[in-house]
Subunit: 418 residues, 4 copies
Amino acid sequence: MTIFDELESEVRSYCRSWPVVFDSALGSRLTDVDGNSYLDFFAGAGALNYGHNPPALKQPLIDYLRRDGVTHGLDTHTAAKAEFLRAFREIVLEPRGLDYKVQFPGPTGANAVESALKLARKITGREAVINFTNAFHGMTLGALSVTGNSMKRGGAGIPLVHATPMPYDNYFDGTVPDFLWFERVLNDQGSSLNDPAAVIVETVQGEGGINPARVEWLQGLAELCKRHGILLIVDDVQMGIGRTGPFFSFEIADIQPDIVCLSKSISGYGLPMALVLMKREHDRWDAGEHNGTFRGNNPAFVTATAALREYWTDDVLEKETLAKGERIEEHLDRLAATTPELTLTPKGRGLARGLAFSRPELAGKACAAAFERGLLMETAGPCDEVMKLMPPLTMTEDELDEGLAIVTDAVHCVAAGA
Amino acid sequence: MTIFDELESEVRSYCRSWPVVFDSALGSRLTDVDGNSYLDFFAGAGALNYGHNPPALKQPLIDYLRRDGVTHGLDTHTAAKAEFLRAFREIVLEPRGLDYKVQFPGPTGANAVESALKLARKITGREAVINFTNAFHGMTLGALSVTGNSMKRGGAGIPLVHATPMPYDNYFDGTVPDFLWFERVLNDQGSSLNDPAAVIVETVQGEGGINPARVEWLQGLAELCKRHGILLIVDDVQMGIGRTGPFFSFEIADIQPDIVCLSKSISGYGLPMALVLMKREHDRWDAGEHNGTFRGNNPAFVTATAALREYWTDDVLEKETLAKGERIEEHLDRLAATTPELTLTPKGRGLARGLAFSRPELAGKACAAAFERGLLMETAGPCDEVMKLMPPLTMTEDELDEGLAIVTDAVHCVAAGA
Amino acid sequence: MTIFDELESEVRSYCRSWPVVFDSALGSRLTDVDGNSYLDFFAGAGALNYGHNPPALKQPLIDYLRRDGVTHGLDTHTAAKAEFLRAFREIVLEPRGLDYKVQFPGPTGANAVESALKLARKITGREAVINFTNAFHGMTLGALSVTGNSMKRGGAGIPLVHATPMPYDNYFDGTVPDFLWFERVLNDQGSSLNDPAAVIVETVQGEGGINPARVEWLQGLAELCKRHGILLIVDDVQMGIGRTGPFFSFEIADIQPDIVCLSKSISGYGLPMALVLMKREHDRWDAGEHNGTFRGNNPAFVTATAALREYWTDDVLEKETLAKGERIEEHLDRLAATTPELTLTPKGRGLARGLAFSRPELAGKACAAAFERGLLMETAGPCDEVMKLMPPLTMTEDELDEGLAIVTDAVHCVAAGA
Amino acid sequence: MTIFDELESEVRSYCRSWPVVFDSALGSRLTDVDGNSYLDFFAGAGALNYGHNPPALKQPLIDYLRRDGVTHGLDTHTAAKAEFLRAFREIVLEPRGLDYKVQFPGPTGANAVESALKLARKITGREAVINFTNAFHGMTLGALSVTGNSMKRGGAGIPLVHATPMPYDNYFDGTVPDFLWFERVLNDQGSSLNDPAAVIVETVQGEGGINPARVEWLQGLAELCKRHGILLIVDDVQMGIGRTGPFFSFEIADIQPDIVCLSKSISGYGLPMALVLMKREHDRWDAGEHNGTFRGNNPAFVTATAALREYWTDDVLEKETLAKGERIEEHLDRLAATTPELTLTPKGRGLARGLAFSRPELAGKACAAAFERGLLMETAGPCDEVMKLMPPLTMTEDELDEGLAIVTDAVHCVAAGA
């Protein structure tokens, strides 16, 4: 019996799929305590877009620690935060013409979502919010109330109310006009829909099964929100910071959300950090109205700043991400075409990719087969029916090909057994 | 206009009291970008019980980073987590005869509280919970619903329901028997109190104004919970990890809570980390029922392990904490006695100390005067009427005396102006 | 200034459309204190299906009062209740093969709806319910939470939660398959729809604008509920007791709802009375779990019994209702055809009829014009865009023609002014 | 098997205590179908303050029905309503200097409570309300949320939130100052009490066990509400209309509640009717914001008017009520004094009287023994520990003595068996 079995709660989950003890990691590979190496198509569920322990960030981090830079700063002013804010303004906001204020809401994506919902309710004076089918926004009560998964919702132990689900893009496979139901109930004074403060949306649903919303759908949503005085919150926790190519996933739709949630890869080093961006006129917070002990995780500010300087001062990473994404797409298309008996559906955008199985249980089997071959992958989707391919954006082409070959092997293996 | 004024949200608060830019920190002192030094009676709101960047933790942290130990691990097994769990079992649980399972609920205290409430509701099948007047448990919706402060509650933007407040110890200055109201409504089938799943309590209220509950009150609460089949959750986020002397603040009452929340100083280095401890029989979680990206902040596990080994293998720190606490108590008693015109009330336990002003606005003024003299302090209490003294447990006696002298100066200064 | 203006709350509404003081009423006519007579196309909002003070009910009522029969009986056994139950079993339930238990939930439709929702939640252990767009179920909090109208919902003063709206039949004018959205979110474990205890539905929406659901839609709904273990509640408060032809409005669909709410015309004399019918296996109430002072309004039981015996022992009333309904339909079709400039849409079933105006404000004007001509009508629909024709079922053909002529006049008058 | 056993829901309750079939009733006596007579110490749970079928009301009612007066009027103006309003103004409001507007909220006490809560929330813009331990306000969701009984609350099937209980008068047997807890949490910005829109209170709790609040407590409550901008709602549904002596039960405290709920005996004949009274400045309703089919139960208006004219144009009834109340009090005091082994506690005000048993189960047995002797009584209180004496106010002294003799017999019988 390991220390984990003995002492750690039954709530643990990833370790059940990958029953090894990881020790070190670099770039796109992890090594376990027995020296075995694993290629990473998982990237910390999107928190490691630049791979593990990227040297360009590691050195500034160690330097900062070595010189006793402030570690824990709450929301005091620190030199490290100032540097991050300047870099964020210069590298991220200004080139994109975005006039956002920045909030440090606590170090997790759920903190960002909770803050965003509070702020939207304060601004509008309304309680209700709209979320989408198969959304994932986090596990704290506010974030969970806009999350789709029924098992996770059940964990709340109280009825989750105040949010009403609307169909995400393509929920009816294109057979129903976009926003037909949503706009109808908004316009109908008898629909019984409580007036919503905000819509919260992921541009590509990750946990929901790697579902990319079309550009025109996102634009339609932004227009609908504007028409009805509803705030648009983009939860870019998983799909932001380059996962789909551009820094913000919504850039391709040329929209400016009222509020944006960022976390996961924002620190670039897997360190807890999150941001809420809000249009300047929406910064209606009172001082201290939302707080939290770990808002000022300064080592994360240091790596976040280094990451912006390393990866976002030109468009190299974005282009490579798109190119690698296409490489995966082509590979998955071929795979689907050559295993028609499995009716596989490739989907995704940038380096957020999925392979949906018509027989859901096979996706998990394929991930297990991949793990046996040294590749880390997890499933996604409401029935865990999607193999999720989320490699570090910085993965080399050779590693990518190596991983894709394993995916093919794993799928074939499953096909043989199916 | 600084970058903070320009770009950071109005929600920021500590920086308004201390309008400098901190750069580095060591032990009990911070240094700003202009080279000014500040003595710390604040300790990261309890997250820095061992002071800033303690060398005994710093070296293992830098070593771990340098050797590319896994940084971000979600809830996979890692060598760093195994080592932490072993140390926690050996140094914390076993010597105290505690048979707790350990959950990593996400890296903040609010994550721990949200998990604890979910678990209590799942175990009991009830929705209602009991909190106490002037409680503080966090800013996410579940944690906020059991928090007392009306301004912070108002930030929710929806009615916070499911929790009913009960009077904390000494709420009526000893004029009413303990638990008179609480037990009466529990026993009365017509009281309209919804059956509670759990009681959540701090043994010493920090944000609520440094209010220590008496040992017999805590014991009475534990017995009352047992009698009525209510789970007892101790939120030891701020008062645990030695703040009041022993590792767990509830040890002095010789009680074993059903669920314990830990965070803040658990990593020892100001890095985001939190734990939920639950009695073995209460580990009713399903795999993945609660999750979160930053549960596996492995650098924090490394420093947490080093901190346990450094500070908790003997009782030196505990004894010193108690001794320093008495030193503060004596000082504050003298101060109160010599400034009768202010009607000051010292209070607290261990190194969680407060000085309550009968004229609330003076507490803030005294903190400001202390800051002018190079000492960091914040206020607490529903009217911000308490100067809060929470130095690192590792502060030297000289530093402590230096700080106390400033407190005296600051109070005198306020007394003169009052 | 009248006593009403002086003393009655601003909440009053019908009296604003008909600013006269009614004094007496018989059959399909009311008379005001000045002796003016009004033809009734309103029928007490469906509470007077047999017209005003029907002689066949009046005599038993007066006899009962004269002989000092028990008036107020709570839920004691009374001779009058026994007689009603026997008649209800013999005349209503047995011939239709319905094995329902009968609850007297309090004297209003809202009491019936509140009871039905409680019972469904108790049986299933779930909190959520499904209602339909433009539903109307009552004004108490439980009933209001499943009601569509935003003004009335706003009156609650608290967020109305626990109910999720689904599109009623024809909500998209037939362009979307029935239950596409509803069944999709039920089947999708990631939809974020809380599992519903029950669906509550009107077979024809009255307040919602006289919207009849098609037989196949009602059947589809019943099947969907069965498939998903959801209880089907038919709110037959307004459309039951013969309003659409048969005693229960759902008979045409050959379905057996799990729970049925009846009120309005059940007493037959405009006296407050309501019933909840539940399948025998669903009678999971504990004694006294729902109560209320006026559950045993025995004079209403007397008239209810007399009404069953007078009108429901053969199929004459049902056939006449259908015939009169067709007469109205033909008339309205002609009217719409001859006033194409108004784009009128006739709709309805049995003697629940409506005439929808494409320019909503004209419906109210037409009702006002009808009132000037001595005909009582009200509007319905989310924009008050429908003239509602709900005459007593017992109205003579001559009266019906008289009323329809006035409707035509009123519409022409509005057309001329439009 | 009777028709009731076969067909009526298990929810029925009074009939279980009194397993006979009542047929007729007059004054203070009911007669069952076998000709047995029962003296009534129950009075329709307070709905029959003038006894059964009082002749002075019966004749106007029959006359009204015979002349085909409007029966069902919704909220149209009717002659019967005008007459009622005039009588209510002249006989009730003006002599007491009360400037209330009158709302007809639907025919039950729960309708009145639901309306009162809606209105209070609208006026204040707050959601929370305060209720008292052992309160009873009704069974619809809004009314149930302010009701104390846990079995009835459980019937809701959803968590009942938005209301916080406070201790009713004497909840701690006089050992704690009035409003100590209530005022403390209102004044404490950290108490976690949501700001209340209103307090709802019964001046004497009926279902809660015949608990009269002292005059000074009621005055203290009114002052506390005023001080904190909280609306005071008196639910006078059971204790109004003379039950405790004066027309309004709160008259003895010389207070003017912001909102008053009336129902039960307002019609005087056991017919469903209810009123909400609100201070003129509080009539903030929009037209139609709260409605309901049976608001205009005109036969009830007729008997209500007759009752006001018969019983309230002088102070005879009030004085007799007080005298009879004292007669009961003396009798119960003697009974308690002569059966010390039962530790009986008489309590009450006017003709709302109770006899509390220290061994709760004996109260039910005594009521059963009373029923065997031809007297109708029910229990009250959270443990059904109180025999409730609520005779018609119009009961003769001989009948009262007859009933009290039976009570004595029944108690002795129970004492013998105990």
